[in-house]
Symmetry: C2
Subunit: 188 residues, 2 copies
């Protein structure tokens, strides 16, 4: 018997997506977004949802572009700061000492020190409620060589991304290997 | 210096969302979806993206409702099977021995044995490309008492959800606690 806990925004695990944008004066900004994820395979797209009140919201509307940097667990302090502070009043790159890199593909910056970066142009803007969802086509992914496997694909065990627990507000590490996808289910 | 790896559908970690639907004869079906996540806080909404070719796609279009069951790591075989098999040719509940429960709030079933369930009605349907994104308003969440904390909220360490690694097709456990969100960033 299950217990009703009400209508909460709760999916486990949630990702930690660091959204990079330029403001009207091309000052680079980043914010932490947990509401989002891949939303289409062809064209490859990622969705990120932002409140209109955020500084990044206006940046995306004006530039129609954003990046998504994926942090490693050692960068959790910076990630959390990106979710607390506003680019309207703070220079988040200056404060953390991280380096903005100008994407050559889209009108947005990404974080040099983060292991994995998606470069996106806005395909759809969906007004939902408190949050607006931006669906970005992924034009390219850039990865640190240190996180690549022999076949050239990024290894989640090397990226060491952060898993977010909404509602309870906690960050977790990714744990051990569990099973091979598109495979283990054939045993049933 | 980062290396370009091309436009891939890659965000770490991706969730494993088990989408429950009824077909036209009210046969319950479930499928595994990794493209999705929370997309709005108010109203609370979750997005799931499905290919039109899936059996579940037609079910959601017809019923305008779905559930999302979150599995525990011990259920990884069933989860993977739900992603491999099609409800068009197989009775996935019968084959796995899992129990469909009729949601009292929406026209869709959920899985009794999975620890956490979201009950959703479709608010928006976004045609993106190969995938269609269904944005569902979360009307309620049901949780097993065994995964609740003393304050009544579900504990991710008790739920033990599965993290999915796209492209490389692997499932991982959630690991150890890393830091407190909306807090650790204040040290910067």
């Amino acid at each position: 018997m299950k217990k009703s806990i009400g209508a909460k925004t709760l999916v486990y695990p949630a990702p930690v997506l660091i959204v990079g944008t330029y403001d009207s004066e091309k000052k680079p900004n980043v914010m932490a977004v947990a509401w989002g994820g891949i939303c289409c395979s062809q064209p490859p797209c990622v969705a990120v949802s932002l409140r209109k009140a955020t500084y990044s919201y206006g940046n995306i509307v004006n530039r129609q572009a954003f990046t998504v940097s994926i942090a490693s667990e050692a960068q959790v302090k910076e990630v959390d700061y990106f979710g607390i502070a506003s680019g309207r009043t703070e220079n988040k790159f200056g404060k953390t000492g991280l380096t903005p890199v100008d994407s050559e593909l889209v009108d947005a910056p990404y974080i040099a020190e983060f292991p994995l970066v998606l470069e996106c142009r806005v395909l759809h803007t969906v007004e939902i409620g408190l949050h607006t969802e931006f669906i970005g086509e992924i034009l390219d992914i850039k990865a640190d060589e240190a996180v690549l496997r022999a076949d050239g694909l990024p290894d989640m065990e090397k990226v060491k991304p952060i898993a977010y627990e909404p509602v309870n507000l906690r960050y977790f590490r990714i744990g051990s290997y569990l099973a091979k996808a598109h495979s283990v289910g054939r045993e049933i």
